[in-house]
C-alpha cells in the first residue's frame, strides 16, 4: 500500500463526497430543524461506507464490477429492470448536478444559466475525453476540497458544540405538528437518498477495476471508504450546522445553493464566499461526471461491451458513445427550462425508489462464496448490509407518500 496513493485516494473521496442534493438538503434541514437531522447523515454515511466497501471488495476480489456480475446473478429480465431504473435515476441526478454547477458558475462569473449548462457539458466531455481515469477522479475530488471552508466557517462561528453532539442521537424533535412531523420524515428520507445515491457504488466499483484493484488493495478500499466517506460526511454536517446557526434563527430557507455559500461569507467575507463557491463548483461538477460515467459503466457492463476510461475513447467506442449520449440527454433536460432545484427533488425521490434494487444484488454478490471465496461478507458486513437494506426499503416505501403529503418538503 503506497501511503501517498492512499492519502490522495482518501482526499479525493472527501472532496467528492458532497453533491448538489446533499448540499441543498443539508442546508434546508439545518435551517428548518436545527441539529435534529444530523443523525440521519451519520446513518446514511455508515450505509454508504458499508455498501461502498462491499462494492470495492467485489471489484477487487472477483475482478469484475458490480453490474457485470449483477446480470449473471439476477438474470436477464430482473437485470434489465435494475438497469432501466438505475439509468433513469442516474440521468435525473446527472441533470440535477449539471443544473447545480451551472447555477454556481452563474454566481461566480455572472454568465446566463443556460449558456453555463452548455459550456459545462462541453467542458466535462472534454475533460473525460482528454484525461485518464485517475486524473479525472483526482482533479474534481481534490479541488472539491475547497468545501473545507464550510467546516472552517463552523469552527469560526463558535457553535454550540453540545447541541451539535446532541444531534448525533437519533431523535424526533418534540412538539412538532403533524405537518412538521411529515416534513421532518421527508427530509430524513431525502437525506438518506442523497447520501446513498446508486451511482456512487457503480462508479466506485468500476473505478476499482479502472485502477486494476486486486486483493492487495482490500485495505486501501476499506480505509478509503471509512475515512474518506466519513470525513466527507463531516463537510455535509458542517453545512447543516452552519445553516442551523446562521439561517434558522433568521427564518431563511436556503433553497438554492447560493444561499448555502453565504455560510462561509459570514465569518470570512468575500474570500470565504469565493472558496465556498469554488468548492461547490468542483464537487458538483465531479458528481455530474460520476453520474454520467456510472450510466455508461452500467450499460456497457450489462451488454458486455469494452468499457473504461483506462482505454482511449476509440478503444471502447460504445462506452464512449454511451457517456456522451448521457451528457447530451442530461443537458436536454436542463434546456427544457425545468427548475434545477425541482430536479434535485426528483433525483432524491427517484433514487430512493430504486435504492433497494441497487443494493440487493450487491448484498447477494458480496455474500456469494462462489465469487468472493474467503472475502465473502463476514457477520458484521452481512448484518449491517441487511439492516441498511431494511432501512432503505422502508424509506423507499415511505418516499412517495411523504413527497405528496409535504409538497416536496414545502409543507
Amino acid at each position: 500500500m503506497n501511503p501517498l496513493e492512499l492519502t490522495l485516494g482518501i482526499m479525493t473521496s472527501v472532496g467528492g463526497f458532497v453533491d448538489i442534493s446533499e448540499l441543498v438538503f443539508a442546508a434546508r434541514a439545518g435551517s428548518t430543524f436545527a441539529f435534529a437531522l444530523i443523525w440521519v447523515f451519520v446513518l446514511g454515511t455508515i450505509g454508504i461506507i458499508v455498501f461502498g466497501e462491499m462494492s470495492g471488495r467485489v471489484a477487487a476480489t472477483a475482478k469484475q464490477p458490480v453490474f457485470n456480475l449483477m446480470r449473471h446473478r439476477l438474470g436477464l429480465k430482473l437485470g434489465l429492470v435494475t438497469l432501466a431504473a438505475s439509468l433513469i435515476s442516474n440521468l435525473i441526478t446527472c441533470a440535477a448536478e449539471i443544473g447545480g454547477v451551472s447555477l454556481v458558475l452563474n454566481y461566480l462569473v455572472g454568465w446566463p444559466y443556460m449558456l453555463n449548462a452548455v459550456l459545462m457539458v462541453i467542458a466535462m466531455i472534454a475533460t473525460i475525453w482528454v484525461l485518464p481515469f485517475k486524473w479525472i477522479e483526482r482533479i474534481y475530488g481534490l479541488l472539491g476540497l475547497f468545501m473545507i471552508v464550510f467546516a472552517a466557517a463552523l469552527v469560526a462561528m463558535h457553535p454550540p458544540w453540545g447541541k451539535i453532539a446532541g444531534g448525533l442521537v437519533p431523535q424526533i424533535p418534540p412538539g412538532l405538528s403533524t405537518k412538521e412531523l411529515l416534513t421532518f420524515a421527508y427530509f430524513a428520507v431525502a437525506i438518506l437518498s442523497a447520501v446513498l445515491f446508486p451511482y456512487e457504488v457503480y462508479f466506485y466499483s468500476s473505478g476499482g477495476i479502472e485502477e486494476e484493484w486486486g486483493r492487495k488493495d482490500l485495505l486501501t478500499n476499506r480505509l478509503t471508504c471509512i475515512v474518506g466517506f466519513g470525513l466527507g460526511s463531516l463537510l455535509a454536517i458542517s453545512i447543516l450546522a452552519n445553516s442551523a446557526i446562521q439561517f434558522g434563527p433568521a427564518n431563511v430557507d436556503p433553497a438554492i445553493p447560493g444561499t448555502a455559500a453565504l455560510q462561509a461569507a459570514i465569518p470570512f467575507g468575500k474570500w470565504g464566499l469565493i472558496l465556498a463557491l469554488l468548492g461547490m463548483f468542483f464537487a458538483v461538477a465531479g458528481a455530474a461526471v460520476e453520474t454520467c460515467l456510472s450510466n455508461a459503466y452500467c450499460v456497457s457492463q450489462f451488454f458486455g461491451w469494452a468499457w473504461g476510461r483506462h482505454k482511449k475513447p476509440w478503444e471502447a467506442p460504445r462506452f464512449t458513445i454511451a457517456w456522451i449520449t448521457m451528457f447530451v440527454l442530461a443537458l436536454a433536460i436542463i434546456l427544457t427550462g425545468v427548475d434545477p432545484m425541482q430536479l434535485v427533488e426528483f433525483a432524491v425521490l427517484f433514487s430512493i425508489l430504486v435504492l433497494p434494487l441497487t443494493y440487493l444484488p450487491l448484498l447477494l454478490l458480496a455474500g456469494d462464496k462462489s465469487y468472493m471465496r474467503e472475502q465473502v461478507n463476514g457477520p458484521i458486513a452481512k448484518s449491517l448490509g441487511w439492516l441498511f437494506f431494511a432501512i432503505i426499503t422502508v424509506a423507499a416505501v415511505a418516499a412517495l407518500p411523504l413527497f405528496f403529503l409535504t409538497s416536496g418538503g414545502q409543507a
Binding site: L69, G75, L76, K77, Q301, G304, T320
Partner: protein, 117 residues
C-alpha cells in the same frame, strides 16, 4: 473450471460476460444452443450472443422493443473456443475471428481518434 467439467451448465453460463484472447469484453452469453434428440445425449453446441438470442427469455412485447432498438442479430460461439469459465467466459481467439466485434467496429468508425492522454 473447464468447459467439459460437470457443471450446472445453464445457470453457470447464462449472462456471463465474454472476454476474448486480447482481453477485450465482446458480449454476454445471451442463450445456449444444444444438440441431441430423444434417447440421445444432450450436448452443448454453442454460446449464442446478441439481442436476437433474447427471444424465449423475454415477453413478446419486450422482444419487439429490443428488435427495434438493437436488431436481432445472433452470433454463435462454438464450445471449442472456450478456454475457461469463471466470473467471465474466456475465449481462445480474438473477437473479430468470431464476428463478435461488428458493433464495436461500427461504433469505432464514428469516433474521432486522437486528443486523449
Amino acid at each position: 473450471m473447464k468447459p467439459e467439467g460437470r457443471i450446472k451448465l445453464v445457470s453457470q453460463l447464462l449472462d456471463l460476460p465474454l472476454l476474448d484472447s486480447e482481453g477485450r469484453f465482446c458480449g454476454v452469453v445471451d442463450d445456449l444452443e444444444f444438440t441431441g434428440a430423444a434417447g440421445k445425449p444432450l450436448l452443448l453446441k454453442a454460446l449464442l450472443v446478441g439481442p436476437g438470442a433474447y427471444k424465449g427469455r423475454m415477453p413478446a412485447w419486450a422482444m419487439w422493443l429490443v428488435r427495434v432498438l438493437a436488431g436481432d442479430r445472433i452470433t454463435r460461439v462454438p464450445l471449442a473456443r472456450i478456454t475457461s469459465i469463471g466470473s467471465v467466459v474466456h475465449l481462445d481467439c480474438p473477437a473479430r475471428e468470431l464476428g463478435l466485434d461488428k458493433s464495436e467496429r461500427a461504433a469505432e468508425r464514428i469516433i474521432p481518434h486522437g486528443g486523449a492522454l
